[in-house]
């Protein structure tokens, strides 16, 4: 028992010493790893975090949201204005070229918008694009984007997932070609793609450089290493310069070694427990009773879990959205940790001895276990059903899941509609099916009046909290671990921006 521990300890010491010898600064290459195999680099055909990282390096949106101030700036568009509720006119930046030399102009924007807005093309995340109806060319450097209906967070989407593709190239190669040889206007161009396994990026000399910086590091080398221990091993060996999404315990240990830079940043993702208030899974189930749902809320010591397990900059959340999101009302009912009260509520609800229920989850198993421990204390016996996301989502959409631990990353969109709009508008992920809430949210999402939106969301979020449809848990955070030579300031939106990296 003792030996392997010593082994590991000495291994760490040794490799830490050897680190600096294997500098990657010398060949100007930043090496990092993905944990999952990315299905395709074409951002419109993947929905993964890894895809967003690559997309932000390779392509540009029309707008740009400053991650620090939250302010929207021009990117491929320099000016934009609303003609009416459903028409946005944009002036495009001149003199921009794609990685393959194709010049960027209004045709590219029109082609891209019309392509992605067409449901027949099967863009994976429809929500990102379905709000646009079409684009029209005014002149070579002016376009109009026509919406189906008023869509308040349009700017957020244009600064995020909606990136511009080269029209001639994309028309020729299609998604398959784009996946293997992506072409954009971004600070990095792709020099090689081994689908799912290996990506090499190179700084793009012709980058326009505003509002984002041009790349500082010459090459980015990304491998897929599924086992996180192996990633750490490679980090020790100097084969990786940068680890992201490092679990809290490991990040602490790495930090304690004093050899690495460990950074923690907030993420837009929040965790929550969704309860079967509408009785889809079990019409007479305990979760249909608000007293039970409130008992659950009182039973779990969220602060303790945040302190012990989630750590970092995470904090307990009470409202069903992320704090940085627009219209995320914070003044809602709060349920403090109080097991006695939970027991009393259960007794009042007719479950003095508690009950037994399936508890579905798909990630962060230790968090789920910790919550189960707390629930067990008040008499709620849970059977963990730990499934792959797709299987769980399938079960949820069929209404077979009474009680589940979920998380939602809102595609890094800083607007409450990205989370509330998805979960409380009567869709297949809506466990509450509260007609009133649905009406408020739908109304909010079709008006551009910011104050009105804030008011409507406030009503909806307050009711969600009062009824305890969800138990919002905590905000997530991301740990980044870097070698000493790397300089990078992480942002609070879970996005790693390669162009912000530099060597010390």
């Amino acid at each position: 028992m003792k030996l392997p521990n010593l082994l590991a300890a000495s291994a760490i010491a040794l490799s830490a010493g050897a680190m600096s010898a294997q500098a990657d600064k010398a060949d100007d290459t930043l090496r990092l790893a993905f944990t999952k195999e990315l299905e395709t680099v074409d951002i419109y055909f993947n929905s993964a975090r890894e895809g967003i990282l690559l997309a932000r390096a390779i392509w540009d949106g029309l707008l740009y949201r400053d991650p620090v101030t939250g302010e929207y700036k021009g990117n491929l568009a320099t000016e934009w204005k609303w003609i009416d509720d459903v028409t946005l006119e944009l002036k495009l930046r001149e003199g921009v070229t794609f990685h393959n030399g194709e010049p960027f102009n209004a045709d590219d924007v029109v082609y891209t918008v019309n392509y992605v807005a067409n449901p027949d093309n099967g863009i994976v995340v429809q929500r990102n694009v379905s709000w646009m109806d079409r684009a029209e060319k005014v002149d070579d450097y002016t376009v109009r984007i026509i919406l189906d209906a008023p869509f308040p967070p349009a700017e957020e989407f244009l600064a995020g997932p909606v990136v511009m593709y080269p029209n001639e190239y994309y028309a020729e190669v299609g998604p398959a070609g784009m996946a293997l040889n992506p072409i954009g206007t971004g600070p990095y161009k792709v020099s090689s793609v081994d689908p799912g396994l290996h990506y090499e990026l190179e700084a793009f000399d012709g980058y326009h450089g505003d509002p984002r910086n041009a790349a500082s590091i010459g090459k980015i080398d990304i491998r897929t290493i599924p086992d996180f221990n192996t990633q750490i091993a490679e980090f020790f060996n100097g084969q990786l310069d940068f680890l992201w999404n490092v679990p809290a315990d490991q990040a602490e240990k790495l930090d304690a070694m004093g050899k690495y830079q460990v950074e923690n940043a907030e993420a837009i993702r929040i965790g929550f427990i969704s309860m079967d208030a509408s009785g889809r899974a079990d019409a007479d189930g305990p979760m249909t009773n608000p007293l039970v749902r409130k008992a659950v809320a009182h039973a779990i010591d969220r602060q303790a879990i945040v302190d012990a397990l989630v750590k970092g900059s995470s904090e307990v959340v009470h409202s069903a959205c992320a704090k940085i999101q627009f219209a995320c009302e914070q003044d809602v009912a709060q349920y403090e940790y109080n097991p006695e009260k939970a027991k009393a509520l259960l007794a009042e609800a007719g479950y003095p001895d508690g009950f037994e229920i399936d508890f579905h989850a798909y990630r962060n198993r230790p968090y789920a276990e910790a919550m189960m421990g707390f629930l067990d204390e008040v008499g709620i016996k849970t059977n963990l059903v730990y499934l792959k996301y797709s299987a769980l989502r399938d079960a949820r959409s069929k209404g077979e899941v009474p009680f589940t631990f979920q998380t939602w990353g809102s595609y890094s969109l800083a607007d409450a509609s990205a989370i509330v709009g998805e979960h409380f508008t009567g869709g297949m992920l809506d466990d509450a099916k509260d007609a009133e809430v649905t009406a408020w949210v739908n109304e909010a999402d079709s008006t551009t009046d910011k104050d009105k939106r804030i008011g409507l969301y406030s009503k909806a979020l307050k009711k969600i909290a009062d009824e305890a449809y969800w138990l919002p848990l905590w905000s997530y955070n991301v740990n980044y671990v870097m070698s000493q030579e790397v300089s990078y300031a992480p942002t609070n939106d879970e996005i790693v921006r390669f162009f912000d990296f530099s060597w010390k």
């Binding site: 082994l7 490799s15 999952k36 994976v124 379905s130 091993a233 490679e234 299987a391």
Partner: protein
């Protein structure tokens, strides 16, 4: 002879067909393909679109026959996950797995056959006990733990070999050891048992009566007979390794077909999964067939009279 090869092949096809039908039903009934295609953050309306697009509402048998008829012509379909032809993805990944499988089985054979022979030559000697030790440890140690220990020791601490990846032959050393060691105990035990049995056979006594040197008796007369069941076992193990190297491929970040299969399960990428199961069972069938041919060469009793 020709007739029997045909019959044998027919049986093989039937086995492959049955395996693919079973797995098709199993995978299809248990998972929801549309969610898988849409991905983690997909919204509800995305899934509805996909369901219509791919025709998942058709009866299962129709979908299966559709798949099968295309598979026969070599069209394994498109990966739902990568949106690329399955044949292309598998083509990319198979070489890694094949390399790993061949290295591992060679390692296992090189380690286990001489040890099995030596152990059989002197039962209960030090070498026999050592061989037994190697075997029982091999059976009892979980391969992922073993793999990670090797990484800590040989890669992090000694810096002798890379911890992950598949770039050079050095990348394959640790995975080969881990996967090969997994197959070693069974092969060694069988070699030892076979040798002990063969060494007590009458023809070995005859060989000794002829005054042949011990080395020649062991390797020419005994091993050739003892190796026959080992060949069959090695074929089964080889087939198993190709599909069963998931854990090793995951630890060492070798992106082979085994890992692809496992990932395809978690992504519900049915076309890839289906194709892989078909290919793995084909491999198994091919290996056992080759083993039979090899055995026929080794053992003339199995040849045409």
């Amino acid at each position: 002879m020709f007739r029997f090869i045909l019959k044998r092949l027919g049986l093989a096809v039937l086995v492959a067909f049955t395996v693919s039908a079973i797995s098709f039903a199993l995978l299809f009934l248990a998972g929801d393909p549309a969610t898988a295609i849409a991905g983690e953050n997909a919204a509800s309306e995305d899934i509805a679109i996909i369901n219509a697009q791919y025709g998942f509402d058709r009866p299962l048998i129709v979908q299966y026959l559709d798949w099968l008829s295309k598979a026969v012509t070599g069209d394994l379909g498109q990966s739902w996950y990568f949106k690329l032809p399955v044949s292309q993805i598998i083509g990319d990944r198979l070489p890694t797995t094949m390399t790993l499988g061949l290295c591992a089985i060679s390692f296992a054979l090189i380690l286990s056959i001489p040890m099995g022979v030596a152990a059989a030559a002197r039962p209960n000697s030090i070498i026999d006990r050592f061989a037994l030790f190697i075997a029982v440890v091999g059976q009892a140690i979980p391969s992922f733990w073993f793999g990670l220990l090797l990484v800590v020791f040989f890669s992090i601490q000694l810096g002798l070999v890379p911890a992950s990846g598949s770039g050079t032959w050095r990348h394959f050393i640790l995975p080969t050891v881990v996967l090969g060691y997994y197959a070693t105990p069974a092969i060694m035990r069988l070699t030892r048992a076979g040798m002990i049995e063969v060494l007590s056979a009458d023809y070995i006594r005859t060989a000794r009566a002829k005054g042949l040197p011990t080395r020649k008796i062991m390797f020419k007369h005994a091993l050739r007979n003892a190796i026959i069941p080992v060949v069959s076992l090695a074929a089964v193990q080889m087939g198993f390794m190709l599909g069963g190297s998931i854990v090793v491929e995951s630890v060492f970040a070798l992106h082979g077909a085994g890992f692809l299969a496992w990932e395809s399960i978690s992504r519900n990428d049915l076309p890839t999964m289906q194709a892989l199961i078909l290919i793995f069972s084909m491999f198994y069938i091919t290996f056992t067939f080759l083993a039979d041919v090899l055995n026929a060469w080794l053992d003339p009793r199995l040849r045409v009279g």
